[in-house]
Symmetry: C2
Subunit: 137 residues, 2 copies
DNA sequence: ATAATCTCTCTAGTGACTATAGCTTCAAGA
DNA sequence: TCTTGAAGCTATAGTCACTAGAGAGATTAT
């Protein structure tokens, strides 16, 4: 049986975050010691490891909840799990594309200023006037 | 003189957001009509246009506040403005790089599943076991 | 036994908005 | 002028995924 601190060290999830996940019903409330402290078994260790990995990959809590529910039904088809992962991949790609447009614009802006005074600063001018931009953001 | 709705339409910033910016002291409280409604001049239109553009480029409110303060002193050197823009460019690039690592991992995961049942689902397995990943995230 | 560390609950704060409720004001048509 | 409907007002709470802090109690090591 693990204390919350030990579970935290093993998973890399911070102690207050574990308690937050319990509140959000992402993990079920574990057993308690005589003195009311949480005591975790390997089942919870594995579940929290799953959650951590999914969060690190950028999945939202709701998506993770769905995936956890699905993994509790091993005989069901896995199309829903695949769809969740694919949707997240698509969203990630869209986010990358958007950030790349911003990157191009920011590069143009930062390299355009010769470091004179504010009244001639190309950074300030560019922010004041979107017409100087190459792209629609 | 513009009402808040007209200002919203001209800038693309939603009405509640304009009021929020006023609360955050990003824009100063404008004049009021006899009936206590906000009335904006072109000064505020330009300022809000600047803010909108900076937000669209991903700058944080605090950075925008600094840039607005700087642009009020036209004779000062502009190195601080350049630094803010460059810092944001660096942060944007880091974010892109991180998302690209996630994208690669998600692509591997989503293409790895042949759509069988949950107990054989490669999506679920990958989330359970970071050792299957190619990269550290 | 004592000290150091951990854990408990509860509340509030973060960033940048968004939504709702219940009210008042404004502008335009009849 | 009266009326109606849109727009605006304030204040409060909700979003997401945590993070910080206070003040009390539990556990562990010496
Ligand atoms: Zn400059
Ligand atoms: Zn632009
Ligand atoms: Zn699958
Ligand atoms: Zn991984």
């Amino acid at each position: 049986m693990l204390s919350i601190g030990e579970l935290s060290r093993k998973t890399g999830v911070k102690v207050p975050t574990i308690r937050y996940y319990e509140q959000m019903k992402l993990v079920t409330a574990p057993e308690r010691s005589e003195g009311n402290q949480r005591r975790y078994s390997n089942v919870e260790l594995e579940r929290l490891t799953f959650i951590k990995h999914a969060r690190d990959l950028g999945l939202k809590i709701d998506a993770i909840r769905e995936l956890l529910d699905l993994s509790a039904h091993p005989e069901q088809p896995c199309e829903d799990a695949n769809r969740i992962a694919e949707d997240h991949l698509v969203a990630t790609r869209e986010r990358i594309a958007q950030l790349q447009r911003l990157e191009a614009e920011l590069m143009r802006i930062t390299t355009g200023c010769q470091g004179d005074s504010i009244k001639d600063c190309y950074v300030i001018q560019s922010l004041s006037d979107h017409a100087l931009c190459q792209d629609g953001h």
